[in-house]
């Protein structure tokens, strides 16, 4: 009897210890799991915030390329979105940061240990904003074009540091272990051809293309099995003769929709910058209307008296910019032929040689 009591006691003792131990362990395990989730969320937010700061800094360091080592983040996939209702970037499935103001042209997704950031000023004809191009060491750009073409030569020069390859034939291309491959067709004949054998092994999301046509028109393509699926056709709105920021932005943008969405941010900013220049123009007109100011007559003529004066052309530009912003539609902006008054204003500004220039 005593033995039996002892056995029960010992058994009960152990059960009691097990239950108490399990409860304590569960308690601490619960705290740890909760903290882990919380830390991961916080880490995601910190990463996005730091990247936002880096993008802001890169955005203002015009014409320079910034190589950012993000080796510790190579397991994260960064997503760049620009669509109606949402503009921003962040970690796929995690924290996101809004980008309502800054135009950022990047692939849809980037997963890399090294980011490459490049900022180019967009001038129309005065500087409106810096366009930030985001790429990575494992995003490959394959350029197919005529080696004597001006833009082909310029691309070779300007894209140093990026993962660019210049080929005569797409069949020569080795995709390597890149996260994404973008084909840049300067000849304009991509639509009629299929995807080369060397690139077919890539996933549909891993291969895209942009084809340039005469008249500053680009068409986006996405891999769909063995063929190219045609995407948006976009008219590039720009008056730059060389180092055209809008053209480079088209190359780096994920697709046509993202390109147009980010360019609308540019046109929105253009409205406000134009208003400031309107004020400056007013002051210039007032200054040169005063009798006795050196070169007053010539300057006044160019500024407001001539048939195609700065004043008249500027008003036309201002009207088109305002209409473009109000429409909130890229196609309306491209149809409005904003480039005409912008080009004319650029020529008139150059004529203000002996006067104070508008910009």
């Amino acid at each position: 009897m005593k033995e039996k009591r002892g056995q029960v006691e010992v058994t009960f003792h152990w059960i009691y210890i097990l239950i108490a131990g399990a409860v304590i362990l569960l308690f601490f395990a619960g705290i740890i799991v909760k903290q882990k989730v919380s830390f991961e969320d916080k880490l995601g937010e910190d990463i996005v915030q730091i990247l936002d700061s880096i993008l802001a800094g890169a955005g203002v360091s015009e014409k320079t390329k910034n190589f950012v080592d993000v080796g510790g983040l190579s397991d994260y996939t960064f997503e760049f979105r620009c669509e109606e209702g949402y503009m921003g970037f962040g970690i796929k499935g995690g924290a996101f940061e809004d980008l309502p103001i800054s135009p950022v042209f990047a692939p849809k997704e980037i997963k890399t240990g090294k980011l490459i950031l490049w900022s180019l000023p967009y001038k129309f004809p005065y500087k409106v904003i810096d366009l930030l191009m985001v790429s990575s060491s494992n995003t490959k750009y394959v350029v197919v074009g005529n080696e004597f073409d001006t833009f082909y030569v310029e691309l070779q020069d300007m894209t140093e540091g990026f993962n660019f390859e210049f080929v005569n034939d797409l069949n020569e291309v080795d995709p390597g272990k890149n996260f994404h491959v973008r084909v840049i067709d300067l000849k304009g004949n991509l639509g009629g051809s299929g995807i080369p054998a060397t690139l077919q092994e890539l996933g549909d999301e891993q291969l895209s293309a942009i084809s340039f046509s005469p008249g500053n028109v680009v068409t986006y393509f996405q891999k769909d099995g063995d063929d190219w699926e045609q995407g948006e056709t976009v008219q590039i709105i720009s008056i730059a003769e060389e180092k055209d920021a809008a053209k480079y932005a088209a190359i780096f943008a994920g697709d046509g929709e993202r390109y147009m969405c980010n360019m609308m941010k540019v046109f929105k900013r253009m409205k406000y910058v134009t208003e400031v220049y309107a004020g400056k123009l007013g002051e210039l007109k007032e200054h040169y209307s005063v009798f006795g100011v050196p070169n007053g007559a010539i300057c006044q003529s160019i500024l407001e008296e001539a048939r195609q004066s700065v004043d008249i052309v500027f008003e036309r530009l201002k009207g088109k910019v305002s209409a473009c912003d109000d429409s909130e539609d890229y196609l309306s902006c491209s149809d409005s032929r904003m480039t005409e008054p912008a080009s004319e204003l650029r020529e008139l500004n150059d004529q203000l040689e002996s006067c104070v220039k508008l910009y």
Binding site: E9, A20, Q49, S53, A56, G57, V60, E62, D98, P100, I101, P121, K123, P125, Y126, K127, V128, I129, D130, K268, R269, Y272, V273, E275, V276, Y277, A278, G279, K280, G282, E283, L284, H287, V356, Y359
Partner: protein, 176 residues
């Protein structure tokens, strides 16, 4: 009876030990909570400093203010007085605050002052203080701290070629 008593004492001892153990755990949790709170406040202060510097950088390179030459090439650390006057006097930034500039400079005050030569003229480019509305409708400040960043800039007056550049100061105050 004696054995029961012994068992009871042992149970009580175990319970007492566990009780003290849990008290220690609670103390640790309180300590960790307090530490997190302090750490959070420090992080907020650092973020605010970072925000102030970011805002200063953005202001220095604003196309609405920056001087330009040649083919619209910007001149670093220089503000065009004609553009500055128009932007400040017409209140371009405050006029389009809600639809645009608030996203660029949230709760911030941006001031530019001409130190030399000149009469110490100053312009408030943007001013959006963090406020809240009381029950009686009165608007009162709602910020706990303010981080100020200063920068020296040149102010260019192209209409006055003999006295083209003056010495100015950019002040960016960020509300937190």
């Amino acid at each position: 009876m004696k054995k029961n008593r012994k068992a009871q004492i042992r149970m009580s001892e175990t319970i007492a030990v566990l009780f003290i153990f849990f008290i220690l755990v609670v103390f640790s949790l309180i300590f960790y909570y307090k530490y997190s709170e302090v750490s959070f406040k420090e992080e907020q202060a650092e973020l605010m400093g970072l925000r102030a510097m970011d805002t200063t950088l953005k202001t220095l390179f604003l196309p609405e203010l920056i001087c330009s030459q040649g083919k619209a090439e910007p001149i670093d650390n220089c503000f065009d007085l004609m553009k500055l006057r128009h932007a400040a006097e017409e209140g371009v930034f405050n006029k389009y605050l809600s639809e645009y500039y608030f996203d660029l400079f949230p709760y911030t005050k941006i001031t530019i002052e001409q130190l030399y030569p000149g009469e110490g003229e100053s312009w408030v480019l943007y001013d959006k203080e963090k406020t809240k509305q009381l029950d009686d409708g009165l608007m009162v400040p709602d910020w706990k701290n303010k981080e100020s960043t200063y920068f020296v800039v040149s102010l260019r007056d192209e209409l006055n070629p003999d006295n083209e550049y003056s010495f100015g100061v950019l002040t960016v105050e960020v509300y937190g």
